[in-house]
Symmetry: C2
């Protein structure tokens, strides 16, 4: 046929970018359709509803796993290095930004919650030894989410023209304080 798979993928990718950029509520079905060069009705046909599409976007987005895996001792340093790079380049992890900008729509809270709980807090906590690993992981995730919030509010400028090495050293201290037993 005329390639349902390709169209479906174009819709998903267009939605992924738009949700990350403007947030769930600001993005309309027609915006997604236009960006994907597809018809609006196809979005509903393939993903059911707008919330369903968003759930798919969140569920299939890559998470921190590439950074998390490795020796647990080096975890704060790896998180700090990644964040320092992001701060310096002015970008934010796409999925983190999507989560931050999603707002408070009741229909999408469940999937957001599950994703943060499993793929962020749970993934970090699994690497930690010592008491209350989820509690410590949650603090690290707090900081990661905070960066998205700050950038949403202030744009990419703050912390950008800082000395990357100094920022990274500070971030290592922050993540260590969050995660150490």
């Amino acid at each position: 046929m005329r390639d349902r798979a390709a169209t479906s993928r174009r819709i998903l990718e267009a939605a992924r970018e738009l949700f990350a950029e403007h947030g769930y509520e600001q993005v309309t079905m027609r915006m997604i359709a236009a960006a994907a060069e597809a018809n609006v009705s196809l979005i509903n046909r393939y993903f059911g509803t707008k919330a369903g599409l968003f759930a798919q976007v969140v569920a299939t987005g890559s998470t921190l796993e590439a950074v998390i895996e490795g020796d647990p001792e080096g975890l704060p340093a790896r998180l700090a290095a990644r964040m320092a790079l992001r701060l310096h380049t002015g970008t934010v992890e796409q999925l983190t930004r999507t989560i931050d900008r999603a707002g408070t729509s009741p229909e999408i809270r469940a999937v957001l919650r599950a994703r943060v709980e499993d793929a962020m807090i749970g993934a970090i906590a699994a690497r930690l030894s010592g008491p209350r690993p989820r509690e410590r992981a949650a603090l690290a995730v707090t900081f990661i989410l905070g960066v998205s919030s700050l950038r949403r509010l202030l744009g990419p400028e703050p912390l950008r023209d800082s000395d990357p090495a100094a920022v990274e050293a500070r971030l290592i201290a922050v993540f260590t304080a969050c995660l150490r037993p």
Copy 2:
């Protein structure tokens, strides 16, 4: 007359609570009017537009100033104590929550940015000595905003039934890592 001042104040307070609870976009003019027991048209008459009302809410909301003032050495401890209390009671500062849940509406970004820049980052940075005070203050604000994000996504449960003293000690270490010269 029929007390314009009182009606105006009821509208402002109703809007303040609703915006903090549900976020800017989820709150409708009719919700505010109902909560304030006022007519919808009066909101527009007194505040111009929905964005204008939101600007008024954000501009008049109390900030961290009570916590920030005092000796700079004790600032991390005071911030940590306040946050530990908030985490334990499951609440979040109203204005911080309003900012977090405001979403990405272009019409309100300017006022949000100004408020975070001046009343949070600027206020903390003014108390700091050493190099790049704004940069260090921004990291602390990152963490503060992150707590609002985490609670928006996960609700009040996480970090709630932890040992408050242990959490507070950890938070002191985090804020110290953010703010120390």
